[in-house]
Structures are given as structure tokens and as C-alpha cells.
Amino acid sequence: MIITRPRDWDRVRAQIADLGATRVFIMGCGECATVANTGGEKEVLEAKARLEAEGVVVTGWSVGEVACHSGGQRLEARKHAGELEAADAVLVLACGAGVQTMADATSKPVTPGLESVFLGNVVRHGVFEERCQMCGDCVLDRTAGICPVTTCPKGLLNGPCGGMWNGMCEVLTDRECTHVAIRRRLAEQHRDKGTEPLPPKDYSKKLKPGRVDTRAERSAHNAAARTKAGEGA
């Protein structure tokens, strides 16, 4: 789940003003931003009321199924073509991926209404925690299922650092040190003996920008299989 937070409203207003926009279309997201209470129908209507109270005309609004789905977003744009055409700009209440998908789906200037903050676990309704940074080089097999890259504020692979005190983290002082937690769980599972320090991370495995094409991969795989079968025959 992509966790988003409302962007500072003064900044959102300044963005709209900078675009010279007096007529705005608002696009939300039916997936993550709805769950995060930042870009669902409720928040889109709140933004609409706020803009209208400040003298901006809202030409229309929509909360599509998933804001980051290219096909879905193009469909939304077609469904609301008239309202979009009447607008000077589009305010998107979705993560950065959703904002860009919308920017690709319309010729109108698009501006973000949220900040994208992390990939979050849903701890309970409305409570989210970052447990994974999608680094592309998972270490959870060595760290008892606790990610130090994400949950240690310094992202250290081997720790604790010198700031740990009575098992607690130096930076987030109300939290247990991630490395103390990892070592305790490894000990509980009798996996703490004879372990080597984790080697430096391979940051080249973090695809930047990320792109995966499973169709191309499958075609390549099938082509290879056909060649092999041909050789066998």
C-alpha cells in the first residue's frame, strides 16, 4: 500500500495560482489514497469545497479505480472529457505514480495534492508503518524477518550503532533498536551463532527507474524453449 499525506494546502493553492488556473478538475484514487484517507471520495469532496470557498471553479471530479493504472486513467479521462476540457488544471489526490499517470492521460497541466511517503503495512485501520523499501536485494533471510534497511533510521545492515541505549534506538527514542530486535529473534530461533556480518548492499539491484516487462520475459523464455526443443528434434 502506497501511503500518502496531504500536501501543505498553501502550497497546493500556490501551485494552482502559478498555473493561472481558475477552473480545476480533481482526480482521486480508489485504491491506496482511499485507504490512507487522503484521496478517496471524502477527501476529494473536501478539496472541492475548499477550492470553491476560495473562489476556484471545480469543473468536475472523479475517483477512478486505481490512479496508477494507465488504461484505467485514460478511461477516466475519456469519461470526464468535457469536465477536463473545461478545466485549466487537474489536481490529483493520489501518490506520485497516480499524478504522472494522469499527466500522461490528459493534455491539461496536472498538479499534486498529496505527498507520497512510503510503502506501508496496514497495522490497523488508519495506521500504517514502513517495513520495506523495495531495495531489490532482500536480506530478510539473514535478519529474522526484520528489515534493517527500512526500520533502522540509519539503514545500517550491521548494528547496533553507538547510539543504542538499553535496547532503544538513538534516533527514534521511543522505539526498540532494530538490531537488538533482530539479534534477539535470531537467538530465539537459535540462528545467532557463527553468522558473518552482512556484506555491503548491492544498490545496482535497486532498479532506478524501475521497469519490469513480464511479457517480454515470457516471450524470451518461450523462444529459448522452442530453440532448445528444435535442437532436440
Binding site: K154, L156, L157, N158, G162, G163, G167
Partner: protein, 291 residues
């Protein structure tokens, strides 16, 4: 050449001090500190953007100290540089004549004077020690031969009083396996806790230089307890300084007593004077370490 290594390996009790490079280019106060500390120290730590706050680089400042005839301990944190920059600076350090190296994680930028900065932490201190050991063996992180190897005396930080102990013990062993040959500890208030840490270090062939703080005022104690990571001044010590008619004088007496006690447990002392550099020669002399 490292006098610090020679003396530690000869089983002699060593003294190290600490100085912070300036925020700016005026080297005068740093030179004064080096002149004060130099005659009573075997080596002086030159900190690397300490407290995640901007200072002149440890690399340049260490060379300045070396040129004054004082042996520096070049500190390198993992906070501000990626593995390319860390390796590059290690090569630079060696070519500048710096042989003593202290590798540390570094405080988080959020606690420093540039809280907006990105903390790098591409490597951690254990991995950086491994890199330095590799340089000593003549190869870089990728295993390629260096044209000219290093012979760093590799040190790391140790925190004997921060529980849980089994975690600290594992860290000591890991750092030594990574190439660490000496430790400098956080300030010691509990000799028993230091003794168990020293035992582990000695069993694995490393030396321990025990930290002493000159707690020169009640204000300094408050600062340490509230702001310095991984350290708490115990109440009985804090009360003694707070109740003293002359806290500065009491702090020097306390540090001298601690230095005397540490002689039986550690391989040396690391005096963190917290600005009271002029007290260091007295502490060292009165503790009977240097005459």
C-alpha cells in the same frame, strides 16, 4: 608509522585526546588544542563532522596536526560518504601520512546542524573496517589490486555500558573479525562493565582505550544526558559535580580518579576534555601515567 600502535603492542599504557576541526578556515584554536594535548597524548582523534555538524574535514585537519609533530587518529564516519568517496578518502589519508584510523557509523543527520541532509550510510562501520583491512592487504572493495597498499592501524568505537551486553559482545567480536585492532570506548562510569568488554577484546587480540569525560559543569552533564547518543552520566557522578563548590576542579579530580582506576583494566585512556583541554596534562600527570 604509528606510535600509538607501537606503544599498544609493546603493552604500554597510552593516552589519546580529541580535537574538533573548526567551522571555517581559521586553524588557530585547533593548533592551540593540538599544542596543549600533543605533549601528553600518544595520538589525538580528529573528529569527522562530529555531532552531524559541519566542520573542516578530518582529512585536512589530521594532516595539519601531523605537520605539527602530533600523531592524529583520522576519524571516518559512514554518514556523509558513499563507498567510492570513503575508499577514495582512505587512499588520500594514507598518502597524506595518516596511519591511525577510527571508523564510526556517525550520528544521524536529524540530530545535527543540517537536519535536512541525506544520511548516506552506504556502508556501516563494520563494513568500513573490512574495507580498510582490504586496503592493508592491497585490494579494494572489488578485489582489485591497489597500486600501493596501506598499513592502517584500524580502530572502532565500543560501548561497554550500553545494554544488552550480549549484543555489545557480539559487536566487539564482529568488529575485530572485520580488522579492528583497537577500540576507543564511550565514557566509562562502571569499571566492571568495561572489564568484561576488555576481556572479550583481549581474547580476540584487540586493545581497549577507555573513555573519560571531563564533566566540567552541571550544564555539560545536562547536555550529555539529553543530547549525546548512547551515554548517560549516572546520578552519583552528576550529583558530585553539581554539589561541588568548584565544578570544574571537581571534574578534573573525578577524571584523575577514573584514570587511575582504568590503568588496571584498560590499555589506555581517551580523554574527552569537552573544551577543558588545559586540564588534560594535569589529569594525566596526577594519575601517574606521565611524569
Amino acid at each position: 608509522m604509528s606510535r600509538l600502535r607501537d606503544r599498544l603492542e609493546a603493552g604500554e599504557f597510552v593516552v589519546t585526546g580529541e580535537l574538533a576541526p573548526p567551522l571555517g578556515t581559521d586553524l588557530t584554536p585547533m593548533r592551540v588544542a593540538a599544542e596543549t594535548l600533543g605533549p601528553v597524548c600518544d595520538a589525538i582523534n580528529v573528529t569527522d563532522n562530529q555531532g552531524a555538524s559541519l566542520h573542516l574535514s578530518s582529512l585536512a585537519a589530521s594532516r595539519v596536526v601531523l605537520d605539527m609533530g602530533v600523531e592524529p587518529i583520522f576519524q571516518q564516519t559512514c554518514r556523509d560518504r558513499n563507498r567510492l568517496a570513503l575508499q577514495s578518502d582512505l587512499l588520500a589519508a594514507w598518502t597524506l601520512g595518516l596511519t591511525n584510523l577510527l571508523v564510526v557509523t556517525g550520528d544521524d543527520p536529524r540530530g545535527g546542524d543540517h537536519p535536512e541532509a541525506k544520511g548516506v550510510f552506504d556502508l556501516d562501520s563494520t563494513q568500513l573496517a573490512q574495507v580498510a583491512r582490504g586496503f592493508n592487504e592491497g585490494h579494494d572493495m572489488k578485489g582489485r589490486d591497489l597500486k600501493g597498499a596501506t598499513d592502517f592501524f584500524i580502530g572502532a568505537a565500543m560501548f561497554p555500558e550500553a545494554e544488552p551486553w550480549d549484543v555489545q559482545r557480539a559487536r566487539i567480536e564482529e568488529k575485530i573479525a572485520a580488522g579492528v585492532r583497537f577500540f576507543q570506548t564511550q565514557a566509562i562510569f562502571d569499571i566492571d562493565k568495561l572489564a568484561r568488554a576488555t576481556e572479550v577484546a583481549h581474547a580476540n587480540g584487540a586493545k581497549v582505550i577507555a573513555g573519560i569525560l571531563v564533566l566540567r559543569s552541571p550544564r555539560v552533564i545536562t547536555f550529555i544526558n539529553e543530547r549525546l547518543a548512547g551515554l548517560m552520566v549516572p546520578d552519583h557522578i552528576a550529583d558530585r559535580i553539581r554539589a561541588a563548590a568548584d565544578p570544574g576542579e571537581e571534574a578534573v579530580k573525578l577524571a584523575t580518579e577514573q584514570a587511575e582506576q582504568l590503568r588496571d583494566v584498560a590499555d589506555g585512556i581517551h580523554v574527552m576534555a569537552l573544551g577543558l583541554d588545559t586540564a588534560v596534562p594535569r589529569i594525566v600527570r596526577d594519575a601517574g601515567i606521565r611524569v
